[in-house]
Symmetry: C2
Subunit: 423 residues, 2 copies
Amino acid sequence: MKIVQYDADISIKRDLDSGTEEQGKVVTEIIGKVRQEGDAALTYFTEKFDRAVLEDLKVQEEEVKQAYTEIDEETLDALRAAIENIRDFHQRQTTQSWFTTKADGTMLGQKITPLDSAGLYVPGGKAAYPSSIMMNVIPAQVAGVERIVMVSPPQPNGQLEPVVLVTAHELGVEEIYKVGGAQAIAALAYGTETIPKVDKITGPGNIFVALAKREVFGEVDIDMIAGPSEIVVLADEQANIAYIAADLLSQAEHDELASSVLVTESQVLAEAVAKEVQKQLETLPRKEIAQASLEQYGQIIVTTNLEESIKVVNELAPEHLEILTKEPLNIVGKIRHAGAIFLGEYSSEPVGDYFAGTNHILPTNGTARFSSPLSVDDFTKKTSIISYSEKALVENGSKIATIARLEGLEAHARAIEIRLEEK
Amino acid sequence: MKIVQYDADISIKRDLDSGTEEQGKVVTEIIGKVRQEGDAALTYFTEKFDRAVLEDLKVQEEEVKQAYTEIDEETLDALRAAIENIRDFHQRQTTQSWFTTKADGTMLGQKITPLDSAGLYVPGGKAAYPSSIMMNVIPAQVAGVERIVMVSPPQPNGQLEPVVLVTAHELGVEEIYKVGGAQAIAALAYGTETIPKVDKITGPGNIFVALAKREVFGEVDIDMIAGPSEIVVLADEQANIAYIAADLLSQAEHDELASSVLVTESQVLAEAVAKEVQKQLETLPRKEIAQASLEQYGQIIVTTNLEESIKVVNELAPEHLEILTKEPLNIVGKIRHAGAIFLGEYSSEPVGDYFAGTNHILPTNGTARFSSPLSVDDFTKKTSIISYSEKALVENGSKIATIARLEGLEAHARAIEIRLEEK
């Protein structure tokens, strides 16, 4: 990893795959065809892109039963423990409807209502990501969303990965369709004969899925379009070099576009970490990906003191921030922008990725300046409640009419005054 | 207004102005020029579009003082009372950072941080909208946003409307720039020599402003892109006909695209309201706009009973819903989708537009299915906090590593295991 001295214009390189014009066109065509032809388009594209010929888009109970026979006890235990922790944390995020009253009879309030339905996209491909399923489904369930749908592209044999089916079943998700790509997003947004439309689509996917989500946004709600994953480790001279190196590598192995950054005031630590990263890298199965990521997007930034390090972190607004200093809790109040903050040497990022309970879907690419981790709030919406009394209207009506006329809206003023006549 | 009988496929016509390709190109060019040339581009476009030649983009103290001389006491009283109510309601929306601990030493939490800065767009043109300023500024202030900037296009004499300056001053907003249109949005998103960039842009504007907001989204956050305003009145046979008609008209006068709908099981009421609307319409100053709106987008839907009326409301998911039935509070729990609900005959929509305290920036065009009124939450973001203890990691580390390997991420597993060696 390259070591650079901090200066005021520092930035980290982050690249977002926004897709090509050609990919955009393909996505628009796919969405159009699904809107027109429904299920027929879904089976057509599934055969074309996933090389799977399906009789039934919907996953059947027997397939789920079969999946359980392929999962060992240790895996099941780990998944169940993670689900329990994630549910526990998200249950603490729920908010209540509330109201306030005044002596004049006015009642104002804010009503919280869960969305009616949510659709979760689960990527297919080489690996299965049970943690993504948990992180999307659990906040929706805790919010009280009644209908939760999962879609995922089948393998050429027409099946989904066993661990995907088992995780969904453990969570209580029963409506699962074997369809992926832009065609799955179109089905969730507009509905087909088999798949009724949903109100919100969440979950990660490839560039076609991302482009399709962007295109259907407005028709339905979507979660953020995620950029590549990033970590910033803020460390002082006493931090454990091997831990830092391992954590930087765990980010780098995700993706060649992933970004791993160390910020420290210690030149000694900087050099030791650079060496240790090289050493640990050698034996990684995903060595080539991690190496490419580190070469392009990895950086060790050496500052002159802790305050300057904190300044750098706030400028970067990282998705993940690990604080490996003597007194990490003292620093939390100074961090203005981060998706998640991991405190101390036992809070390795994978603890939060999989298990502790917090959500791993976090704002990337500097958007932690204004965005939040996925949460229960993302699956509810608010409605304002206004109940005005006769007394309140008599007392305040003329003021309301004054503002309405100030804005040139006479009918607004009259709607108030007609109620005050003969009072 | 036309009266239609309910059937299962009912929908209301809603049209969103999405702009033309030509308008899109103009906006892209303006944004590009502001990014390249900064202030020079702003003064250029302000001269071109607003016919104002400015020496200084920033509003000076003397201009604010001058504005106060043009506002009468009654107006000032009304504005101050509205501000007080709106601030009171929004203060009840604030949420606290929280944390939870476990016996094994784990600490998890959710930290709430206000955005650093927010930019508010205030439209210029024929009328001034002090209520828009309040509804955008107050939630940002209550959230704790440190830097709140206002932009608004000047009149040809280089000035802003006095009531705009007075409202801003009453709220405590001091950073105001005389610039509007797409160029103002570009300045807020990318910054110029005079106008530092912000993290989030809110506030209504014309199609150029809307397109510009859409284009800079991601670089900064934006609020929703609002569609035309809508009201649905849900009424039974005992409701006051004159009040309903006045409220439908107050929506219709906004805009030719605005939508006013009455849903009722009473054919008698339906016919009486249609007649009364016609009568009240005659004397309105904005008669032509209201008439055009009612002809295109106005509708009275007659259902067979209250349950069916409620079903219609949920299908429409209106921005504003007035409930004018015998027991309006009994119905609130059955309404799943609405931006704001006004209960009873004294809760005319303008009460909420201007004065009661709730926010008047609400989800339009059916997006109340998944969106919320503008609130304090829109000016804060969350950060997850994870502090794991050695004990917790020793107990759970193997489960975490199991899930990591299930996902094919070996470096994730090793980041955990390196911390467990020799324990």
